[in-house]
Chain length 363, copies 2
């Protein structure tokens, strides 16, 4: 129905050569295109792993981070394709592979998530404190309730000191979490569990366990099913509310006793995952020559922002439960929590705006 | 230019008879229409005062509140008209009268403002605590840092207890402020200063000190000048920013050291006052037969909401500076402050939406 897209009008679109198998073949994409895509992603995975090992000890932190990101990137794509095109792949192999890939990308993603969360929260605190950045590092955190004497009169400076102390507290907590995540990731990469996954991916790079019928099976029905799951989940979201600015929905449970991430966020997180699966399925179909859908991109970015703000808000609320913090610190964390919950609401609005314009067509 | 409006198409619009002088006369409204309006408002003032005195001791609180509101209502209208149509009135009389009327409506308005602020904050706390209202009254406030033992596990219940304590603290502080405002208002109404104002208003009810030229002077130029001041002030507002939902502007100084009401709110409060003056000027021109301008109404309501939310946010921040409150209380007040600052932002958005559609024409 959109077969002309399989022959991209712009062959210089920068797709890695290995991903363009489906395009070169012409005709409807079949299991062969899936095999090509999986082989390419597996090769990417192995390349990233080699790079990570090389950079592990001597090289720059940045290169190591890039390598870990590339590892996660291909692990997610392999895992997502295994899910969407499950009937075309050896069932036992697939069922064994997916949870291992999920474990790997989850473990490798934690460190980066902690870092990004801290950045987001400190940036928000700066914004909320007016234009002058406060010296977060110069103040000790106040978990013992006895911070340094405020350098300003209590009446005027209370709130700023609270912001600085909140920043220091978050920095301590999230840096600790990041350090732990780093150790866990290093341990994971040295574990036999990881070596087993890596071995399987190495096999996948040359041999994709397709079912006998797969090489000639049209992929589009399965891709369409993935898209239908996305559309159904998005349709179930409260988009009418989200489309009304300042609906104050995201903060409704801002002071509710449940310390877990807001349950209302769940369906949005789910749509984020389904949107990702849809995107990967498009990659498989178009073999790397997929036209960029800016609205799909905008919707995905809004949902990423939604997830980030949701987790940052939870981190602020969690920090506020630290025993013996000063009231000014707790106040600043309350403001910060509400600010991030409004970011959640803003992200939902942005998603609604992008989605409204969306004319997602099965390729 | 819009003279046809001076003969309203709907004479049953419910205007009190005394206000329709200008309409009955036909032709452009002159100082005579102003005199008629001022006499009518002065009569309203005296009627409300009589009612207030009658209800002062025996009758229901509600009737007393209504009478005080009616007093304020006409005091504001007399004061506003004195300002807008100043060149048509005896200068000495006018300059003596206005500050006294401002003092009166300010003093009488405080009690109601405290009550409305508390209602707004408690309602917001309920909303933020989820659907179950918390028992604010059943918990003692925690200014001594030793509230009752939490009836729930600290992990889960911390925030809810904080919300309840914050509610109790606000209730105590704002009820105290309201009680003080009530006493001040009673004292004011018994003062010789008040009796002097009331005497002047009694004279105004029969004799308006117009300048010799006023009875034949067209009022529209002065009304247009009042409107121009409104338009200029509104044009200077950051309406482009306000028109972008979730611009996060209102909370920018959420943790800044300045405990005073946000300076960024000032220009909006000013536009609110100018919009009111414009509305009163329309009342004078149309003599009570002014067609209801729903957009003007929406803009005014948005600015009222802006003012209310701004003051509620300041009250939450102020309560957070109470010495020795529990961290959970401070956290809840921080969330509440941010929530109300977002209400401020929402009100600006609503004003921008109403104003955008606005085609304010000089009548």
């Amino acid at each position: 129905m959109a077969q002309q897209h399989l022959e991209p009008t712009d062959p210089t679109a920068g797709a890695p050569p290995k991903l363009s198998t489906a395009v070169e073949q012409g005709g409807p994409p079949t299991g062969d295109a899936l095999a090509g895509y999986l082989r390419a992603q597996a090769t990417e995975f192995l390349r990233a792993l080699r790079l990570h090992r090389e950079t592990g000890t001597a090289s720059s932190v940045e290169e190591s981070v890039d390598a870990a990101r590339a590892l996660r990137r291909s692990a997610r794509r392999i895992s997502g394709s295994l899910h969407t095109f499950r009937p075309l792949l050896d069932a036992d192999w697939s069922e064994e592979m997916r949870p291992e890939l999920a474990w790997l990308s989850g473990t490798l993603g934690l460190e980066h998530a902690c870092e990004a969360r801290l950045d987001r929260l400190l940036l928000a605190l700066h914004r909320l404190s007016g234009s002058t950045p406060f010296p977060a590092q110069s103040l000790t955190s106040d978990s013992a309730g006895s911070g340094p004497p405020a350098p300003v009169t209590p009446e005027r400076g209370n709130l700023t000191v609270g912001a600085a102390k909140a920043g220091a507290l978050l920095e301590r907590q999230l840096t600790l979490a990041r350090t732990r995540a780093h150790s866990t990731a290093l341990q994971a990469l040295g574990s036999s569990r990881f070596h087993a996954v890596a071995d399987k991916v190495a096999v996948l790079a040359s041999e994709v366990p397709l079912t006998p019928a797969a090489p000639t099976t049209d992929l589009r029905a399965l891709a369409a099913a993935a898209e239908d799951r996305l559309l159904a989940a998005a349709a179930a979201l409260p988009l009418v509310t989200a489309g009304h600015p300042y609906n104050a929905e995201a903060l409704v449970h801002g002071l509710s006793p449940d310390p877990a991430p807001h349950p209302q966020d769940g369906p949005w997180h789910q749509v984020r995952l389904l949107l990702r699966l849809h995107r990967y399925a498009r990659e498989v179909l178009y073999g790397g020559g997929a036209p960029v859908d800016v609205r799909l991109l905008a919707a995905g970015q809004a949902l990423n922002r939604h997830r980030d703000a949701s987790e940052a808000a939870a981190a602020a609320a969690s920090a506020a439960r630290t025993p013996r913090i000063a009231p000014a610190t707790a106040y600043a964390l309350g403001v910060l929590h509400a600010d991030q919950r409004h970011e959640v609401e803003a992200a939902r609005f942005a998603f609604q705006q992008a989605w409204q314009k969306q004319t997602v067509g099965t390729p």
